[in-house]
Symmetry: C2
Subunit: 406 residues, 2 copies
């Protein structure tokens, strides 16, 4: 099976009809995708382990297995109605990189380990990069046991149902576990395609923050309660959403982005005034202070709207992470590898965040981007060309070889 | 069993924990509530029939059964997380009125018929007063077969599963079926309670309209798509919701009300830009032209927002009904009955709409309101006092007696 046909097979494990991919962590498609990937890793002769939440590690032993390994990998979970390339290119491309080195008979000193991170997407538990946060110690085991899905079902319920029973405290990786980490990924933006350049080498990853707002007003019959008496939670939410958008645009920096992607209106009947709304907001910037200025503007809007409309707004910060600077050792290995293959690249920042944001806390880390059509991601029409994916896997293999003999 | 304990029993047929009542048409609690009411009607010696959608008719024959009957009744379905009094007071109060006349040995010339209307609430199919629209010919059988719930399941699927198989074309009542119709209902507004008056006699019912808007923008990754490139369907929806609110307030008339009670955001992930939103809007006014001015303002806002944000807005008018003037014969019977019992009343309009809006198209119709605490309805804390419910049933009985001998 070629890398390309493996990507196509992986896309069939989905709760949405093709071309859409919906693969939420611990769902049936997620479990079937894991089984498929483990069979591919076994066929490649890799040693495997899974931790207590379902991060998968597949290792090719080096000539000196006592040395810290070189890591590569990404995720396979997909948000509802997503595409076939986000994360999966880094997982199957990482496996392909290991197979490339095997095919040419290279056996570097360090072991090479493919990581399939559990739950990079925040769909189930509201927090992104769940698996890599735990690995890096950015989320501790006890805090993770507080996580619940929107129906109140706990992480422990979910992982147990999916067959993961181990000690949560053992998930965190020991210091010095990896000597370097590289993640291959589609750009999820338009820059490489627009510039006609096949590779991006990531030097920094933007600082993400996400909030959950509970807006509580007063319900009632849509016919009977007069307008001046209303405390409509959804009208209040609408103002907050627009205030978030205005604040992100007002920084004047193209790297500031803000989104309201989740809105649940309660009770959700056409003839009933909304009494309660749950909003989930996402704010990112390469510049942490500028991102925090948007968060502050949202806080001010919440306070003003609450006072004026007589509603209450409760805020829960899901995450607010600093940006990551990539490691020059890994960046240089990627640049050298691309140069040797005669492939053009540009250094760039990632506004999307990735498991590498957390891996960078425990290992020298960088990322390798390939173009995706129209910069489109998290949509069924997400697409990366087979030749770009192949180039990415080749340069990834070359860079891993450099790092594994370092 | 007293009327009060019957109301309490009826409230137990619910998909939500007490005190909330959720009883959507054709659900299991709806079916159990129907069975309960049919047993009460049988115990009262009434003749029963159900039509092809599940409107229930329970008749006490008059001394001249060939004459058009006097009708009374209301609905038992309840929106999600509603209370125990909306509709049910008119159903069990109507049954109690018939039993009051039986207890005092009155046998009027005309038959008296209790109607339990099917699906007054728009929860399942998006359209309010489904049963009474069909009875009045305001919705024809073929149009009703196009109705679907939000998952695409048809009316026919639902009614068949609930055990209703008859010919839809037979649901419409023949001309002259009722000589008069009276509906007892909680006010669902604060006026009677504030004035300390036990009864309201409704002289007009406000004109309701409801819309479904499909707003289509462009999705994408919340980190990667820059703000100027976005066509965020939810930000567009937020502007439309606020424009609706502004337009309703701008008429300057307290009788104009407008609500956005339903908002579904697609794909609904925190890190994905909303590509599509479904909004459901409700606009009402006693003055039809003034209501239509709000609908026109919503249309203008949709066009302006669509052009500016590069989204599309598709509108489906769920219903747009004229207001109803109540019939003086029925209003006068209610006034006389209240006077004879020494109970104060005020004439008023209903901003909420009811099955009587459609019954008024085929029979002389009016409504009798009783106070509800705080004007609250469509909420678990909806409440009407037992003495007000008893007064309502008594005056309803007296008015029916007058009409049935007319």
């Amino acid at each position: 099976m070629s890398l390309q046909s493996e990507l196509e097979t992986l896309a069939t494990f989905s709760d949405a009809p093709a071309p859409a991919v919906t693969r939420v962590v611990y769902s049936e498609p997620d479990r079937r995708a894991r089984d498929y990937l483990k069979s591919l890793c076994r066929n490649a002769g890799l040693s495997m382990r899974e931790d207590a939440v379902g991060n998968i590690f597949a290792r090719r032993h080096g000539s000196d297995p006592t040395l810290p390994a070189v890591g590569t990998g990404s995720h396979i979970d997909a948000i509802p109605n997503a595409g076939a390339y986000d994360g999966t290119v880094g997982v199957l491309g990482g496996l392909e990189a290991i197979r490339i080195l095997q095919r040419v008979g290279m056996c570097p000193r360090r072991s090479i380990e493919l990581v399939i991170f559990c739950a990079e997407e925040p769909t189930r538990f509201g927090i992104g990069c769940f698996g890599s946060r735990l690995l890096a110690g950015a989320l501790d085991a006890s805090a993770s046991m507080q996580l619940r899905d929107k129906d109140g079902r706990t992480l422990d319920d979910w992982r147990t149902a999916a067959g993961f029973h181990g000690d949560m405290a053992q998930v965190r990786l020991p210091a010095g576990y990896y000597s370097g980490f590289v993640e291959l990924h589609i750009e999820q933006g338009p820059l490489l395609e627009q510039a006609g350049i096949p590779l991006g080498i990531v030097t920094a990853i933007a600082a993400p923050a996400s909030l959950r707002l509970w807006i509580e007003g007063e319900g009632g019959h849509a016919g009977a309660v007069l307008m001046p008496q209303r405390r409509d939670a959804f009208c209040a939410a609408a103002e907050i959403v627009l205030a978030e958008e205005t604040a992100a645009k007002a920084t004047g920096a193209c790297d500031t982005v803000a989104t309201a992607g989740v809105c649940d209106v309660f009770p959700g009947a056409i003839n009933s005034i909304p009494s309660r709304v749950r909003l989930e907001l996402d704010v990112r910037d390469i510049d942490e202070a500028r991102r925090d200025s948007v968060l502050a503007a949202i806080d001010r809007a919440c306070a003003e709207v609450a006072a004026r409309r007589g509603v209450t707004v409760r805020k829960e910060t899901i995450n607010s992470d600093p940006p990551a600077q990539c490691d020059s050792l890994v960046v240089d290995a990627l640049c050298l590898a691309a140069d040797r293959r005669g492939l053009g690249f540009q250094k760039m920042v990632s506004r999307a965040y990735h498991d590498s944001l957390f891996m960078s806390r425990i290992a020298p880390t960088a990322m390798l981007f390939i173009p995706c059509r129209g910069g489109v991601s998290h949509r069924p029409d997400e697409y990366a060309a087979p030749e770009d994916i192949a180039s990415g896997a080749q340069v990834l293999a070359d860079a891993i070889a450099l790092l594994a003999d370092h």
